[in-house]
């Protein structure tokens, strides 16, 4: 199998208007159909990088962005980029599950309806398919019209995952998706991700180093806006090349 780079980031620099978190000279190639984990201490720029990939940083006050982010060879930082198309292609799951104030079903159909899909059969199939992918179908199939807020935290987070899957994205960004979940729910989400990587490119900011080690096909260690080390997960967590990575992985700081 040929390993394909889905995303190529070239010399990405970013600075927020208030000067807080930033990215410096990031170069990274992200493989298709694999889980790439971005890890490191808080404030290292992991979330910032995720939010660059679907241009969600457009909502924040960013002072400067430079460099290129190529997804399938197209620079998405180009001002000409249609961010709406981009965001359908690059789904995102946030740290805190945020279900929209509507029914479970409406949460799933929301994105597709906005994109102009009106056929209820298509919407229903998308809902069923994505709920199954997110390992939530069995738990909610009889109550799709219930308010989404009635679900437990773990179920809500899997609904959020399903919601982004419903749009058939190619890339899924997950920003500490299990930080508020119990171990059982966390296990379900992680298992779902392992299934999903066959068809999707997954970029995960884990909420712990253990999760990083468990899930990573590839791992990137970020420290204060810098990419310290990037490589296959099995290598990086067992014999890191950089001293700083080793210190963090073995728990000497962070």
């Amino acid at each position: 199998m040929v390993v394909m780079n889905k995303i190529v980031i070239e010399n990405l620099n970013l600075q927020y208007a208030d000067g807080t978190e930033s990215l410096r000279h990031i170069n990274i190639d992200i493989r298709e159909n694999a889980i790439t984990v971005l890890f490191g201490p808080a404030g290292g720029g992991k979330s910032t990088l995720l939010r660059c990939l679907n241009r969600l940083n457009d909502l924040t006050e960013v002072k400067t962005v430079s460099g290129r982010i190529l997804i399938d060879g197209k620079d998405i930082l180009d001002p000409q980029t249609d961010t709406i198309v981009l965001r359908r292609k690059v789904g995102m799951v946030f740290a805190r599950p945020v279900v929209l104030p509507m029914s479970i079903y409406q949460n799933l159909s929301y994105g597709l309806e906005l994109a102009g899909e009106k056929r209820s059969s298509v919407l229903y199939e998308a809902a069923e398919r994505s709920l199954k992918l997110a390992a939530l179908w069995d738990e909610v199939k009889d109550r799709l019209d219930d308010p989404a807020i009635a679900l437990s935290g773990g179920q809500q987070q899997r609904l959020c995952l399903a919601r982004s899957l419903a749009q058939q994205p190619e890339i899924i960004l997950l920003d500490e998706p299990t930080s508020g979940l119990d171990p059982i729910s966390t296990g379900k989400v992680e298992a779902a991700l392992q299934e999903l990587k066959r068809n999707y490119t997954i970029i995960l900011v884990p909420h712990s180093i253990q999760q990083a080690a468990r899930t990573a096909d590839y791992a990137a260690f970020f420290l204060q806006g810098e990419l310290v080390e990037y490589g296959e997960g099995s290598e990086l967590f067992t014999k890191p090349k950089e001293k700083r990575t080793e210190d963090y992985v073995t728990g000497r700081f962070g």
Partner: protein, 281 residues
């Protein structure tokens, strides 16, 4: 003095203050009800005044206030909500928007008689709408706008930011996010503000004094370019301008106006509490 005692003393004092503030309000309502209810009859509510307004009913004034409230709503609600959406959802925090906000706050503080004079100058004379329902509604709208804008903006801002972020991340445009998520969630709060604003407009005398209120009209207004009788102005007229006016009719009129306004207030309260119970955040 030990701490428990001072705690109890302070608590009693605050309770007393709270009671004192509601006593006058309840007093006014009860007094008007007692004095006004004997005047209320089917005839009082359904016929025009007779015999120099000393007999008959107040139907034209009730209808007039109804028309003016509707007219005010037609202009002020869409404008006010649109302005609030702009301020809350689209505008950045610039000098320009700060100036707009400052203007809105100050508009809310302008005495209502000044609005009346402004309406006379702009709508009645300059735009030549005459003394009419149209002029009065427009004047009342300008007076009501600040209330509607600021409460609507507050309601919009109360909708969690995370909903917007999620919606945008799902490929929604800003407008789709506003229409499908933010506005529906803010609607109860907006409606409350709208009703409170309109309630104030319904009870105002000064802004309609020069712009649309008639001293006495035997007929109901037939178009928006007609002047109209209105409850607050009618009350002013029969209380000060008509000699030997039966006091019963004055209080009856006040009662009808009070019920009109309190009724709107009640609707606003019901909407608000229902929405709170249903809210999912």
């Amino acid at each position: 003095m030990n701490r428990h005692l001072s705690q109890r003393l302070g608590f009693s004092l605050l309770t007393m203050v709270a009671v004192f503030t509601v006593v006058p309000i309840i007093g006014v309502i009860v007094y008007i009800f007692i004095q006004g209810s004997p005047a209320i009859s089917w005839e009082f509510l359904t016929v025009a005044p007779r015999a120099g307004m000393r007999e008959g009913g107040i139907l034209p004034a009730i209808i007039g206030t109804f028309y003016l409230t509707i007219g005010t709503a037609i202009f002020s609600v869409p404008l006010g909500i649109a302005a609030a959406v702009y301020l809350s959802e689209y505008s950045a925090d610039t000098r320009w928007t700060r100036l707009i906000r400052l203007a809105i706050i100050n508009l809310a503080g302008i005495p209502s008689v000044v609005y009346g004079l402004f309406g006379l100058g702009l709508f009645v004379l300059f735009l030549n709408f005459g003394t009419s329902i149209l002029s009065a509604s427009l004047t009342l709208s300008i007076m009501t706008l600040p209330v509607i804008i600021s409460t609507a903006e507050e309601a919009l801002r109360a909708v969690p930011q995370a909903f917007r972020t999620v919606s945008i991340s799902l490929g929604a445009t800003r407008w789709q996010t506003i229409r499908r998520i933010v506005l529906p969630q803010a609607l109860p709060g907006i409606l409350t503000g709208v009703i409170l604003g309109l309630e104030r407009a319904a009870g105002e005398t000064a802004p309609i004094l020069f712009t649309g209120a008639a001293f006495f009209l035997p007929r109901l207004p037939g178009s928006v370019f007609d002047a109209t009788m209105a409850l607050p102005y009618h009350l002013f007229v029969i209380s000060t301008q008509v000699p030997e006016m039966p006091i019963r009719i004055q209080y009856g009129t006040a009662l009808v106006l009070l019920v009109f306004v309190l009724g709107m207030n009640l609707i606003a309260t019901v909407i608000r509490s229902r929405a709170r119970a249903r809210r999912q955040w």
